[in-house]
């Protein structure tokens, strides 16, 4: 079980929330080429280590927030409302 600290609701079981994946830099939709946009949509670093990722507190406060999680150990550092 992974316990995720929601900044509003406190520690919650990960199954109460939805993981939205690692944060990638979003190109400007007005100027990005199709290929740049698809790279943003689909390609992932997928590292085995610390990642900054977004979670959605779907059965609590329904806010999006950011945490740092180590994907090799599932250790979590901190969280903030995004």
């Amino acid at each position: 079980m992974i316990v995720v600290p929601c900044p509003n609701c406190g520690p919650r079981n990960s199954s109460d929330l939805r993981p939205c994946g690692e944060i990638t830099s979003r190109p400007d939709p007005a100027t990005a080429s199709l290929s740049e946009w698809r790279t943003y949509l689909y390609l992932r670093e997928n590292p085995a280590g610390w990642v900054t990722e977004t979670w959605y507190c779907r059965s609590g406060c329904r806010r999006y927030f950011t945490i740092e999680r180590n994907t090799a150990t599932n250790e979590i550092r901190d969280s903030e409302v995004s």
Partner: protein, 429 residues
């Protein structure tokens, strides 16, 4: 027909049983050379099959298969051993059906009993929308000559009498996609068969050899990696090995290795858990899959029930089991088969699945010359093993993507030409 190594028979069993003579080793443990024509990373089913077909079909035998652990210790030894070809896209159907053909003749080809049991495969539909997808799949399948049809709940009951087909369940069974050629195979035997045959043809199987870096030159990224460059070899914990062709046949660590060549993949890694019960008398004649209940089950020749589920929702490289999985699995399985409520689970385990956005693999050439990928195998890598080996071998030998895998090229993500297979490859939808 070339016999690959030692032949096993009742006579040999009697001879070894009566004497204390050890069985001969199935493959050698060679010293690594400093250079090979092809270096394959990952000594699982895909890597070994690629090596075997390179040697057998294309005469390329100066090949090394590198594995950081032991052969077949990853996804090849952790899957639930189900094979089928009733996919949703024409590209997927053609590809997986070729794999079933190869499984069909594998025991003769590899001179090893892989215990292929062509017992039929039921994908249950519990909702109208699921039934509609089953009809869609059945029509796509029939068009390509695959034995696949939709049956109603009475026919389901005939095929698998232990299933609860009554109407007073939470998710009543409305029908199923029935695929008679589907079945199960002994997954370790497949790995051993390919390993032994490849070894017999001269391939070097280098276990406990971990790839630390992929060496490149002339690419646009740092250290000559990335698009426009070419590979020159790999750095391992046992020293550098030069090779003009490097093949990434890993699962779970595919992104990490591919990043070493400067090729970013469209993959996130998720664990998938499975479990097996104590053995009992054989009562389940087919493979049963339920998308709505996120479970698939088959009974092995030893009588154990093998269960698999959908991938864990949180992407991670950690493969520990969870109580949530066991609870959910037990609840769902008992909805399908209330009669097994007294059976005990023997063990549960977990393996890593490289999930792609469209539930199809990423195969063939890449933007780095000489670097080939056979990755993104999600939850369907075992059933594709033989055809993946055959087509990757052709791609490496000719330098051109084989016809069957051209739709799975990495460029489809930047060109927006995805092969959406989720309707037939995922149970968690």
């Amino acid at each position: 027909m070339a016999k690959h190594g030692y032949t096993y028979s009742a006579g040999k069993l009697l001879k070894h049983g009566l004497s204390s003579g050890a069985w001969p080793r199935m493959w050698r443990r060679p010293e690594a050379r400093s250079s090979y024509d092809v270096a394959i990373i990952g000594g699982g089913l895909h890597g070994l099959a690629t090596a075997y077909y390179l040697a057998k079909e294309h005469g390329i035998t100066n090949v090394a298969v590198l594995d950081k652990g032991y052969l077949g210790g990853g996804g090849s030894g952790r899957n639930t051993a189900i094979v089928r070809s009733n996919y949703l896209t024409p590209e997927g159907v053609a590809f997986y059906d070729r794999s079933l053909d190869l499984y069909n003749t594998m025991a003769q080809d590899l001179n090893l009993n892989v215990m292929f049991s062509r017992r039929g495969h039921l994908t249950l539909a519990h909702t109208d929308s699921a039934l509609r997808t089953m009809h869609w799949r059945a029509e796509v399948n029939k068009l390509q000559g695959i034995d696949s049809s939709v049956i109603d709940e009475h026919e389901v009951k005939k095929q698998a009498p232990s299933l609860d087909t009554s109407k007073d369940t939470r998710y009543p069974i409305l029908g199923a996609l029935y695929h008679p050629p589907g079945g199960i195979v002994r997954h370790d035997a497949v790995v051993w068969g390919y390993a032994r045959a490849a070894d017999h043809l001269g391939v070097h199987l280098l276990q406990e050899t971990e790839v630390l870096d992929i060496l490149c030159e002339d690419g646009e990224g740092p250290e000559g990696k990335g698009a426009g460059g070419r590979v020159t070899g790999v750095r391992t914990n046992r020293g550098d090995i030069s090779a003009p062709a490097v093949v990434n046949c890993t699962a779970g660590w595919a992104s990490l290795l591919s990043n070493m060549a400067g090729v970013t993949l469209p993959i996130t890694t998720h664990p998938l858990q499975a479990a097996v019960t104590e053995p009992c008398k054989v009562f389940l004649p087919t493979v049963v899959v339920s998308g709505s209940l996120h479970v698939y089950v088959s009974q092995t020749d030893r009588g154990e029930l093998v269960f698999g589920a959908s991938v864990d929702p949180v992407g991670t490289y950690r493969v520990n089991g969870t109580l949530e999985f066991t609870e959910e699995l037990a609840g769902h399985v008992l909805e399908l088969m209330p009669g097994i409520s007294k059976m005990r689970l023997l063990r549960q385990w977990s393996g890593l699945c490289d999930m792609t956005p469209d539930y199809s693999p990423v195969m063939g050439t890449t933007q780095v010359d000489g670097y080939f990928v056979d990755v993104g195998w999600g939850t369907y890598g075992f059933k594709a093993g033989p055809v993946a080996g055959e087509t990757m071998a052709e791609t490496i030998a000719t330098g051109r993507d084989a016809d069957l895998i051209a739709p799975f090229h990495i460029s489809r993500f930047t060109e927006g030409d995805l092969v959406g297979e989720k309707g037939a490859a995922a149970v968690g939808h």
